[in-house]
């Protein structure tokens, strides 16, 4: 049982609401007196994840568990899945459509950023069934 357990529904195709969950987590971590650098890493990694849920996943769920020594984040969608995870992890690789690029996304930096800012990250994806990304940020480790 974690110190703080949070769950958020992230709607698909609604860019105006992306960032609400990560903003709320950031706010709560600040209140808990979490280390600022760890808060920033959680906020960025989670926002990138939210954006992926909106663009690719058709929406999904974000689950966050906070403990003094780590923040665990799980992003779960039932979208199309990622055929080649290794390719998706490459900086610059993107399948985002033009309307998404016009908003400033789709640079192919989402997953690489999530990896960069977290201490642990796994991607479990099945084509046609969905994707689960799990990340952990441990204060002071990076």
């Amino acid at each position: 049982m974690s110190m703080l357990h949070l769950e958020y529904q992230v709607p698909g195709d609604d860019f105006t609401r992306a960032g609400e969950a990560s903003g709320d987590v950031k706010h709560k971590l600040k209140k808990l007196g979490y280390e600022p650098d760890a808060i920033r890493r959680v906020a960025i990694a989670m926002y990138e994840g939210e954006i992926n849920l909106v663009i690719h996943g058709g929406g999904g769920v974000a689950i966050v568990d906070v403990d003094p020594d780590r923040v665990d984040i799980a992003l779960i969608d039932h979208g199309p899945g990622i055929p080649d995870v290794e390719q998706a992890m490459q900086a610059g690789w993107s399948t985002a459509p033009d309307n998404v690029r016009a908003l400033g996304f789709g640079a192919g930096m989402g997953l690489p950023n999530m990896k960069k800012y977290t201490d642990e990250m796994t991607i479990d994806s099945v084509v046609g069934e969905g994707t689960t990304v799990k990340m952990a940020v441990c204060p002071g480790r990076k």
């Binding site: 990560s22 600022p36 926002y47 640079a107 930096m109």
Partner: protein
């Protein structure tokens, strides 16, 4: 230096987010691709861009940039202005281009 002082010296107009004007400006980053900015900008950077949408406000809030400066008279969307106001994310506007704005930031923060 606060972003308010920097904006005064550089001649930028405040577009939204007055409550955040005491943020400290420590550096500068230029970019329009949001994930690129989140990957590279440092906390406390003055962020120069032409991207005035809701997501830019979210990026600034989550990545802890000191403020946003919309260069070349790029527009700030109405919903973005509202969000910036609500969250205290200072957004400034200038008619100058990104290069000239960056030079001013550099010269002022030296």
């Amino acid at each position: 230096m606060t972003v308010k002082e920097l904006a005064g010296i550089c001649g930028w107009r405040l577009l939204a987010g007055e409550d955040g004007q005491e943020n400290q400006a420590e550096g500068c980053y230029i970019g329009d691709l949001l994930s690129w900015v989140m990957g590279r900008a440092q906390s406390g950077d003055v962020w120069l861009t032409v991207m005035g949408n809701l997501n830019a406000i979210a990026v600034s809030a989550l990545a802890d940039t000191a403020c946003i400066v919309l260069c070349e008279d790029a527009a700030l969307d109405q919903d973005a202005a509202k969000r910036a106001e609500m969250q205290g994310i200072p957004v400034y506007g200038t008619g100058e281009n990104l290069y000239r704005t960056a030079i001013k930031v550099h010269d002022t923060l030296q």
